[in-house]
Symmetry: C2
Subunit: 568 residues, 2 copies
Amino acid sequence: MRQSRLLLPTLREVPAEADSASHAWLLRAGYIRQLAAGVYTYLPLGRRVLRKLEQIVREEMDRAGAQELLLPALQPAELWRESGRYSRYGAELMRLNDRHGREFVLGPTHEEAITSLVKGEVHSYRKLPVSVYQIQTKFRDERRPRFGLLRGREFLMKDAYSFDADWAGLDVSYSLMYQAYRNIMERCQLDYRAVDADSGTIGGEGGSHEFIVFAGIGEDVVAACDHCDYAANIEKASSSHSVNTPPLPGGAALEKMHTPEVHTIEELTQFLQVPPEQLIKTLIYVLDGKQPVAVVVRGDHEVNELKVQAYVGAESIELADPVTVEQATGAPPGFAGPLGLKIPILLDRDVSTLREGIAGANERDYHLRHVSPARDIVTSHIGDFRNVVDGETCPNCQAGKLKLSRGIEVGHIFKLGTKYSQMLGASYLDRNGKQQDIIMGCYGIGISRLLSAVVEQHYDERGIVWPAALAPYRVHIIPVSVKDRQQIELAEQLYEQLARKGIEVLLDDREERPGIKFNDADLIGIPNRIIIGKTAEHGVIEFIKRGKAEVEKITVEEALSRFAPPLQ
Amino acid sequence: MRQSRLLLPTLREVPAEADSASHAWLLRAGYIRQLAAGVYTYLPLGRRVLRKLEQIVREEMDRAGAQELLLPALQPAELWRESGRYSRYGAELMRLNDRHGREFVLGPTHEEAITSLVKGEVHSYRKLPVSVYQIQTKFRDERRPRFGLLRGREFLMKDAYSFDADWAGLDVSYSLMYQAYRNIMERCQLDYRAVDADSGTIGGEGGSHEFIVFAGIGEDVVAACDHCDYAANIEKASSSHSVNTPPLPGGAALEKMHTPEVHTIEELTQFLQVPPEQLIKTLIYVLDGKQPVAVVVRGDHEVNELKVQAYVGAESIELADPVTVEQATGAPPGFAGPLGLKIPILLDRDVSTLREGIAGANERDYHLRHVSPARDIVTSHIGDFRNVVDGETCPNCQAGKLKLSRGIEVGHIFKLGTKYSQMLGASYLDRNGKQQDIIMGCYGIGISRLLSAVVEQHYDERGIVWPAALAPYRVHIIPVSVKDRQQIELAEQLYEQLARKGIEVLLDDREERPGIKFNDADLIGIPNRIIIGKTAEHGVIEFIKRGKAEVEKITVEEALSRFAPPLQ
């Protein structure tokens, strides 16, 4: 491709709208442009990278035995009512009416559509298992679209679905997909972890894994062991519970302290000059909109609401408002404590093993000291109700330490089980002629999100540094001066010869100053650069790898021999 | 691919919903399924063919120098208001609101989005010309979705746009696209014509061509010369006007005839026992919702409303209602005639050269005979206001005859000129620093429609007969009995060897009766079939081309040698 003809508008400045490194580079290097909040155009370079990602994903899906199909984006609202998600999905689901007033949604995901299809076409165990996938534009009306392609409202996704006769079959389908996802991550040269995850709103009975790409702007936090391969989303991660300090009942007697206007753990540590791990924090939650409970964790720990929710089996959980707190504890927020409460108390195991601590007195402006949980807190609900923290012991190997890192969720795979097949009535006849629910799995990867995630991990101070497998072009030829006949002739010759070998080459044939050309080349990030300058008359050119400092002086023949035609 | 694992549900009966041959075959052979009216799922076989079509289109676009990008489906309504199409597009435009109540449309086409992009990024003649294309799902809320993929509400389309500095540049861009479209049609083995066409609602000043694939169910009618390469949509086609019978004024005097309850041309020919070409038909139209006119054509001809509209320069044209007819003519519908009218009269040239004819008398139950147009009809508006008919002389070569055929419009290319660039403000600075409007072209081809159009031309009484370039698989291997060890082993061996050469093979490894397998194979339509039956023990197999009767007995080695690996 001749750069003079390419729609490749680079920007000198970081655009004001950019809120992450990948967003800024993709805008500046002319890969994407925004049309509306969270809605992007892929310019030619962006489209090329996207197609390479599509191809990698497609190859790995095919290798995993999944078949490509294409479901519609427009789906009758009726189908979503049947699954119960029409209302549950909330404002993220984009809705519209057709000219006859019939209600439709724009698919944010396709469990309903595929289950309904399979229900109509698969009726016997002889047609199972079957796995299908599609690469398709999805729509989700995010409340806060941001980070460019990372959290968009229209985005490209690969979603796959497996259908099995039994759970053992699902395990096989799931592990094929798990491996395919690992292959995709590795082919994209991503530093990532496959982490044990919560199944969230998609639901399902059999567990799930997220594929998290490490990045500072990531909205997910992962706890990963530095010794074994344990890794889990913090929503789900646990640590090995040390029982080295068994609870010691007795000790000093309870004592009330006046703590005027001291509401928070931070204020309390300052006021009393004690470390937060000696404090006992009591939070009042409301379950399913009606049942108040007290969750008690150490002052240096954070409540994990999903663990609480899973423990009690609630559909929803939210922090109580001040009125409810006062009703439950007899005091305004800031003075709740686990003693004498009439509501259920969920006690984190790390509080239960405290020798003693300081807790709220359930009375305005008072706390209690010498609280001995084993002696003073009356509850039968002791468990793991908190987030793990950096440096805790791995629950799997009991040897390594957990390290917390931020990351971007690019993929999520689920063992759905029979959630959708039951609701939509997708069943099959087994060998004995008995009707059975089909066992499902679903597997999603954000292809446009992957594009941004790769850039988050592959840039330097001058621009993008593409992994070879994803670069929009493989070679970038830059004649320093296109007015120099020897330079441009040599450049054209090399361009033709490489192109004839099937190699993707971009030729910067623009009449621009060398500084502008080199800056643009750095921004764009093509891995192999050939600079044709004054030494062209001796047949010598410069070869540079993007991201490396070394400049090699080589002959044209050498340059040609470095690039083998692409395989296949 | 193993057929036992493929999601390929074939149907024995023609489904009731099928309203065309391609629709019926694509449903029966398991290529597509309907999710809602005009909204289809592509099953694995359908997806494969669609991808082959995409690839052909992509290659031809690249060869024509266009760059692939991807614009969003979600577009702010504001953009459509700017171009004036938000209201003009009518009910076909799908509209929705986001969670904040902002209005969006789902792109049925992308002139607005691309013009707005180019406006922001291209400002100098040095960046022109540039041509871009995308392959994308489009949405149009058709009033009457039908014929399966032919007239759908969600469909796959390739749309391309060219941007030039001047009209000469547009001519070059346009002819590159014209040639690319011809290449696509030929690679799909379609019997088609590129026809001169009306620009319709997309508009534009510079003319357009439709690519029409001949098919009996087609909604377009093409007039094509049997001698030269003239071809035009009937909306635009004209014929050579013969002036062999100059108008002869005078003759017999006008005579009023009683024609009770005779309203139509058909009734009149029966009642008077005269051929329709001796009748003069007068239709009352209303232009732009207010101006009534009379259009006068021969009894055997049909008014061409677009020609009338173009002649008078009206935005809209519709047949007058009975009240307006009575106001304009003084008689109820059925008795209008061109004599004595107070409204403008548009006289078709073939009426103007009639020696005499029979016309309505503008009086209930009366007609006039011996009407001599040259003598009796007062108008200065004589022109071509009718559709051409089969067998007329070609207006181009004046030698051949025009033949009318029905066809499916699969592509349409337009010289838009400055219609959109003016409205949306896309301009550039020319060599002299002067601001100029960018000159645009747009070029669309329906990829999913192409799929159906190919099937309309490639089937026999047993199923689809794919052109080799589009078949979902190249070779179909059918062991007659999978329980026969020799047969299945030979089949597996051949399957592996062909697959290893990169050849797309489908192996029918199902435990089904031979009749079912052969019926399914005929339905699916893979071009090369290898049947492995009783002679397998001697290493002999049967080779059949789909659509041909001959059965060849060949050895396994011969079978292998017939299929070279794919190029590239």
